[in-house]
């Protein structure tokens, strides 16, 4: 199986879907001539032309609004928001329009829309460029929200998202575009509502998605050396939230750490913890430990930024504490 970088796996998914279905088109800032801020759309304008790869003005609300209209009219737009931080001005379109239209029209019209957008910090880009907001969207009925952590999942889930008849928030992460992994060629489709155990273990369960999946993996390798066996559940499907593998895992390990790059309060971990308390309370051996970004706007200062976002040390120390090994 070929090994691809995340950005190339996404590119492959877009190219294959555009070839397969003429109604698929892309729109966003700098995605055409410039090949995209993170080079995900590299070469696509050259290959498919300016009609199917639209360079737009810096106007997120108009990008999403245009995409919704096109989707209602029968096309399958894939809109790119340069980062998830910039989508705030388009929230009315995302929530009040995209998420609710099908319901409000009694199923009379679908909105087969994909919004691709990366979150994540760590590049000294300051508070207006560094946050993760997947929980904002995962809160809203009518949206599907996925956040993949491996190139193979990126391809398989993006292809499925494009074929889905509902608006899908396809959350990426700036710190993962260079992550490499084996990617199946051709028709590789993954469900949008299935989470998955990415690493088997016995002592502790770690829930993580997107870049935190990589962090969890690094932490698990270190913990292994200390004799702590961690099971990692990839929470790539955030809405609908597939809890089955988490519950099954917690019933085995009795201890859970959730890791997310966004703020902890009202976060993905909070939702996971609540579900676990509801469905597996009698299997817990310790309170669920939630790791998330410090409750501050992302610092610009390099040293502060480094301790504000979760890293493997946070996971390792928390795991030891949960097991009473410190």
């Amino acid at each position: 199986m070929p090994v691809l970088m995340m950005r190339d796996a996404l590119n492959q998914a877009l190219r294959e879907e555009m070839k397969r279905d003429e109604s698929v088109f892309l729109l966003g800032e700098d995605i055409g001539l410039y090949d995209g801020s993170f080079k995900v759309t590299r070469g696509l304008m050259k290959e498919f032309g300016e009609k199917r790869v639209l360079d737009t003005p810096i106007a997120e609300e108009i990008i999403v609004g245009t995409a919704i209209g096109a989707a209602m009219a029968g096309l399958r737009p894939v809109a790119e928001m340069m980062t998830v931080n910039f989508i705030m001005v388009a929230m009315d379109q995302v929530v009040n329009a995209a998420a609710h239209i099908r319901y409000m029209f009694g199923g009379g019209t679908n909105v087969p829309l994909v919004i691709r957008t990366p979150g994540g910090g760590g590049h000294q880009l300051g508070a207006q460029h560094s946050h993760s907001h997947e929980n904002w969207f995962a809160h809203v009925p009518g949206l599907k929200v996925v956040a993949r952590g491996t190139p193979a999942d990126a391809k398989g889930m993006l292809k499925s998202a494009i074929r889905d008849n509902n608006p899908v928030m396809f959350i990426e992460n700036e710190g993962t575009y260079a992550v490499k992994g084996e990617v199946p060629e051709g028709e590789h489709l993954l469900p949008l509502d299935k989470n998955e155990v990415k690493r088997a273990g016995d002592d502790i369960t770690i829930c993580a998605h997107s870049r935190m999946l990589v962090v969890a993996q690094e932490a698990a390798a270190e913990l292994e050396k200390e004799g702590i066996s961690a099971e990692i559940v990839d929470m790539r499907a955030l809405r609908p939230l597939d809890m089955a593998p988490v519950i099954e895992s917690v019933k085995k390990t009795s201890r859970l750490i959730t890791v997310e790059e966004g703020w902890r309060s009202y976060g993905v971990g909070a939702e996971i913890a609540s579900r676990v308390y509801e469905e597996a309370f009698d299997y817990l051996d310790a309170p669920v430990a939630r790791i998330g970004a410090a409750e501050v706007p992302a610092p610009y200062n390099k040293a502060l930024e480094k301790i504000a976002f979760p890293g493997k040390a946070d996971v390792i120390v928390t795991a030891r504490a949960l097991l009473g090994k410190n």
Partner: protein
């Protein structure tokens, strides 16, 4: 001297192309002056010099590309006799495009001869390396750590241009940062691990509670080893395993392993299994002694009149209706209790329950067990009835014919070892009572009366009191009343 490195000019940049050197080799450069024009994946940008001096060497010529962090030029002369450590302190002078790209220079400088751990695509080989490179971690090491399911994911660190590690280098942080603090507080409690204070509700994890129920493990007998002293799944499993051993007692509440530990050193210890009743007694007494704060009040009572009264009483009635000194004590205590409702009370989970009925428990010692039949409404019964019922109760207890009713409802207990030549002793409160009266023998001794030494019959009683329910003065006053009734015993027969 200072190295000029390829700066990171955009978030997604991996390599940069030198478009134009704005200074020639050998030319003087001032800090802040435009030095080189570089093309990133986003824009063409003029980069300033971060150090002053002579542009001694251009490493990457115009038209060529270099990865982020690679040395593209050198400013200043060759290093003086600076040691490695001194050079390390000068590392900040290294030219940087922005802070995000520069490798962290926490380690001392690499020796001059050692080339930097080059980026895979690096074309221009720098002659010297002053600052260590962030890519010191070999890709192979990461691959070895990675699980099959994520094969290759971590490898990206090596050739990603640093994107895998958003903070500009591998995550070598060893201490938990702000991200984990709230989770750690939740696990350890606000004051770290020692916040399980005495008297706090026993901490048991949900799974431990469930397993304890499934295995019939008594959690009160389990020592918690988790954070904050919480009883964990492992603690219960260990306790259950001990309980399942073939030689284990029928009930897991008595610590089998404790007995084994004691028995092992000598090898001559006879292990005595307890009956269910004995187990219950042991548990209740331990619970009482360790949860109720006991204090003790002793009084010596002149029993001359009581002994005389008993003699006269027994001479006047049939032998089957004879009374004992204990019956007199029961009656005296019962009458005193009606005046001291605060003594006829129980500690009930943070509150005090005062009992309307006065029911006296009578501790009966038998060779293999201790039982406490209860004489109900002792305050309302004539002495004769107290005598006959206590006789029946004790007889039923001795012959194992007592009903469950016989043991219910005690509000105060009397333990009398007078017949065993005991001067005085202290007893453990019999739950749910708040006090117990330990009665010693009646002893003939010289007593001083009106300045004269005379023979007297004296009995010492000691009341054990639960201080949560009864305070010292109340206990003393109650005991005074008991003493008054026994020293002027006519009230007992009225």
């Amino acid at each position: 001297m200072a190295n000029v490195q390829m700066p990171r000019l955009s978030d997604s940049m991996e390599t940069g192309k030198i478009l134009r050197w704005l200074k020639k080799e050998g030319e003087e450069v001032k800090k802040g002056e435009p030095l080189v024009e570089i093309e990133s994946d986003k824009a063409n940008i003029e980069v300033e010099a971060y150090a002053s001096g002579k542009l001694s060497k251009i490493v990457v010529p115009e038209g060529e590309s270099a990865p982020i962090g690679a040395v593209i030029a050198e400013i200043g002369g060759p290093p003086a006799s600076a040691s490695g450590a001194e050079r390390a302190t000068r590392a900040p002078e290294t030219v940087r495009g922005d802070g995000g790209a520069a490798p962290r220079s926490e380690k001392p400088s690499a020796p001059e001869e050692q080339p930097p751990a080059a980026e895979p695509e690096q074309k221009a080989k720098p002659v010297r390396a002053e600052a260590p490179k962030a890519q010191a971690t070999k890709p192979e090491a990461h691959v070895a750590q990675a699980e099959k399911a994520m094969a290759g994911t971590a490898q990206a660190a090596a050739d990603s241009g640093g994107e895998q590690y958003p903070h500009g280098g591998p995550d070598d942080r060893m201490e938990a940062g702000a991200a984990a603090q709230a989770a750690l507080r939740a696990i350890r409690g606000p004051n770290g691990r020692d916040d399980a204070t005495a008297g706090e509700r026993q901490r048991v994890s949900p799974v431990a509670r469930r397993l304890a129920e499934e295995h019939g493990v008594d959690l009160r007998q389990v020592q918690g080893t988790g954070p904050g002293g919480r009883i964990t799944k492992e603690d219960v499993e260990a306790a259950a395993q001990h309980a399942q051993r073939p030689t284990a007692a029928p009930t897991p509440s008595l610590p089998q392993r404790e007995r084994e530990r004691v028995a092992r050193p000598s090898g001559e210890v006879e292990v005595v299994e307890l009956s269910k009743l004995q187990t219950t007694v042991a548990m209740r007494l331990a619970q009482s002694k360790f949860s109720a704060p006991h204090f003790y009040v002793t009084s010596e009572i002149a029993m001359d009149d009581a002994v005389h009264l008993r003699q006269m009483f027994n001479e006047a009635v049939d032998k089957s209706e004879a009374i004992s000194i204990n019956d007199l004590i029961i009656k005296a205590v019962a009458l005193a209790l009606t005046k001291f409702p605060e003594v006829n009370a129980s500690w009930a989970d943070g509150r005090i329950e005062r009992k309307r009925d006065v029911n006296i428990g009578i501790a009966v010692g038998l060779p293999d067990r201790l039982i406490v039949p209860v004489l109900r409404n002792a305050d309302q019964r004539p002495l004769k009835e107290i005598a006959s019922e206590s006789k029946q109760l004790i007889e039923r207890a001795r012959t194992n014919k007592a009903s469950g009713q016989d043991y219910l409802g005690n509000t105060f207990t009397i333990s009398n070892l007078g017949m065993y030549d005991v001067e005085q002793f202290t007893a453990i409160i019999n739950p749910p009572d708040s006090a117990i009266l330990a009665v010693g023998s009646i002893i003939d001794k010289p007593v001083v009366k009106d300045g004269q030494v005379l023979p007297g019959k004296r009995m010492r009683v000691t009341m054990s009191v639960d201080h949560r329910v009864i305070y010292g003065v109340t206990a003393a006053q109650f005991l005074q009343d008991v003493k008054r009734l026994l020293q002027s015993p006519m009230a007992l027969v009225l």
